[in-house]
Symmetry: C2
Subunit: 234 residues, 2 copies
DNA sequence: TAGTCTTATTATGTTATACATAATGCTAAA
DNA sequence: TTTAGCATTATGTATAACATAATAAGACTA
C-alpha cells in the first residue's frame, strides 16, 4: 500500500465505441483462428450483431485494414490477409514529416542492421549467391564517376545481401529505411560532409563472405561503412 | 518499344475518394510546413473546402491519426503531433496474428540489432553507464534459478544497453520486438530446444564495454546470444 | 476585483437513411 | 456453349440529425 492518492482510483474507460469494436474484431480473428482468405461478415451484419451503427463498424474495419489484417473488396466483403507489419509504417516514412532526430536515428539503424546480419548471411549464403555477387561487383563503378549510378549500384549490392540473409522482414524493413537513409545522406542534416575516402570495397566484402567468417565480415562491413559512421560521430 | 499489348494502356486511377483526400491532407501538412501543435481545420471546414462529404474527411483523418500524424480532441479539432512511426505497428505486433515465418524473422531481427549496435554503444557510453551496468550484473541471478526472474534481469540488462546506444528509434523498435521474441523463445515454434549452456555473460559484456573495442563487443555479444543462434540454425 | 459556478458554444462522436458504384452471379438470347 | 445483359449485393459516399465532451463566455458570489 502506498500513499499515492490515485491508488484507489479505477482506470476509467475513455475508449470510444470504435476502439471497442476494433478490439472486439481483433479478438474475433485471434480466437476463432481465422485463416488467410477467410471472409468476415459484412459491415451490416457486424453492425447488427454488435449493436452499433455501420459507421462505427466501418471505422473499425478501416483500422484493421490499415494494420494489414484484412483486405476489403466490393461485394465480397472483407477477407483476412497475412498481416503486413510494415504496411502502414511505410506511409509515415516521409522525410519531410519526420523530425531531425528520428531521421538521424533511422540513418544509424541501417548501419546497425548491416553489421549485425553477418551470421544470417554466412548461414544461408549459397555458391550461386557468391557468383551473383561477383557479377555485381564486376561492374562496380568508380566512386568518382556518376553519383547516381553509384547509388544505384549500392542499392543493388546491399539489396542482394539482404536477399541472401533470408529474412523477408529484415529485407522489407531496410527497404523502407533506404529512402530515409538516402535523404539524410544527401541533405545537410549531418554536420560532417561525406568523405570520398574508400575503405573495404564491395569486392572485399564478397571475398570475406566466400572465404572468411562472420567476425571478419562484421569488421569488414563496419569498415565499409566508415564514411557514414564518420558523419554521425562528430 | 516492346510487343507487350498492355504497354500503351494508361494506369487508371482506382483510388477512392478517401485515398485522394488523405494524400491531399498529407501534402498539406508537408508543404505548409505545419509544426507540431498546429491546428488543422475542422472536419466540416475541410469537407466544404475539399468538396466532399464529412464522412470521407473523417475516414481520411482517421488514417492520419493512425499514422500518428495528428491527434484529435473534441472541440479543439485535430492537432499535428510528432509522427510515431511505430505507433500503429505495435498494434499488429500480436504473436497470435503473425504467421510463423514472420515470428521467426522477428526473433532473428533482435539478434541482428544487438550485435550491430556495438559502435553506437562505444561512442556514447559514459562512466556512469558502466557503473550502472556493473550494479545490474552484480545481482545477476544464476541461470538455474527462477526463470521469470532471469527473464526480468535479461530485459533490464539489455534494455540498459539500448538506452546507452542513444537511439530512441532503435530502443522503441526493440521494445516492440521483445514480446514477440519472448513468445517465440518460449513457444514450441523453434525446433531445437533452448540450451542452458552459458557463454559470454552479462558481466563479460560489461567488461568488454569498459576496456574493449566495438569489434570485441560484437563477438562477445554474438557469443552471448549463441543459445538463440543455435536454435534458429538447425 | 478575483474566483467560482453556470451556461452557451463548438467540434468531434455516433446514428440513421439513402443513393452510387463495382463485383459477382444468374438468366436468357445468339 | 458462350456471351451479353440484368439483378443482386456489399462497399463507397453523401446528408442530416442528435449526443457528448471540452472550451469559452458570462453571471454570480465572496
Amino acid at each position: 500500500m502506498t500513499s499515492n492518492p490515485t491508488e484507489s482510483l479505477i482506470q476509467l474507460d475513455t475508449s470510444s465505441l470504435v476502439d471497442k469494436v476494433e478490439a472486439n474484431l481483433v479478438k474475433l480473428l485471434v480466437e476463432r483462428k481465422l485463416r488467410v482468405g477467410d471472409i468476415i461478415p459484412t459491415e451490416l451484419d457486424l453492425s447488427r450483431s454488435l449493436g452499433v451503427s455501420r459507421t462505427v463498424v466501418r471505422e473499425a474495419l478501416l483500422r484493421l485494414r490499415m494494420m494489414g489484417l484484412i483486405d476489403t473488396k466490393k461485394k465480397k466483403g472483407s477477407v483476412i490477409t497475412s498481416p503486413d507489419i510494415f504496411g502502414i509504417m511505410s506511409k509515415s516514412m516521409n522525410p519531410h514529416i519526420l523530425d531531425q532526430d528520428t531521421l538521424r536515428e533511422i540513418f544509424e539503424l541501417r548501419l546497425v542492421l548491416e553489421i549485425g546480419m553477418a551470421d544470417l548471411l554466412f548461414q544461408r549464403v549459397t555458391p550461386k549467391d557468391i557468383e551473383e555477387l561477383k557479377e555485381i561487383v564486376k561492374t562496380e563503378p568508380d566512386t568518382a564517376k556518376d553519383h547516381i549510378f553509384h547509388i544505384d549500384h549500392e542499392i543493388i549490392f546491399h539489396g542482394k545481401l539482404y536477399e541472401i540473409a533470408g529474412n523477408e522482414t529484415l529485407k522489407r524493413f531496410q527497404k523502407m529505411l533506404l529512402p530515409i537513409f538516402d535523404y539524410v545522406h544527401n541533405s545537410g542534416l549531418l554536420k560532417k560532409p561525406a568523405q570520398i575516402q574508400k575503405f573495404v570495397s564491395h569486392k572485399g566484402l564478397v571475398d570475406i563472405l566466400e572465404n572468411g567468417s562472420p567476425e571478419l565480415f562484421r569488421n569488414g562491413m563496419r569498415n565499409h561503412l566508415e564514411n557514414h559512421f564518420l558523419r554521425i560521430f562528430s
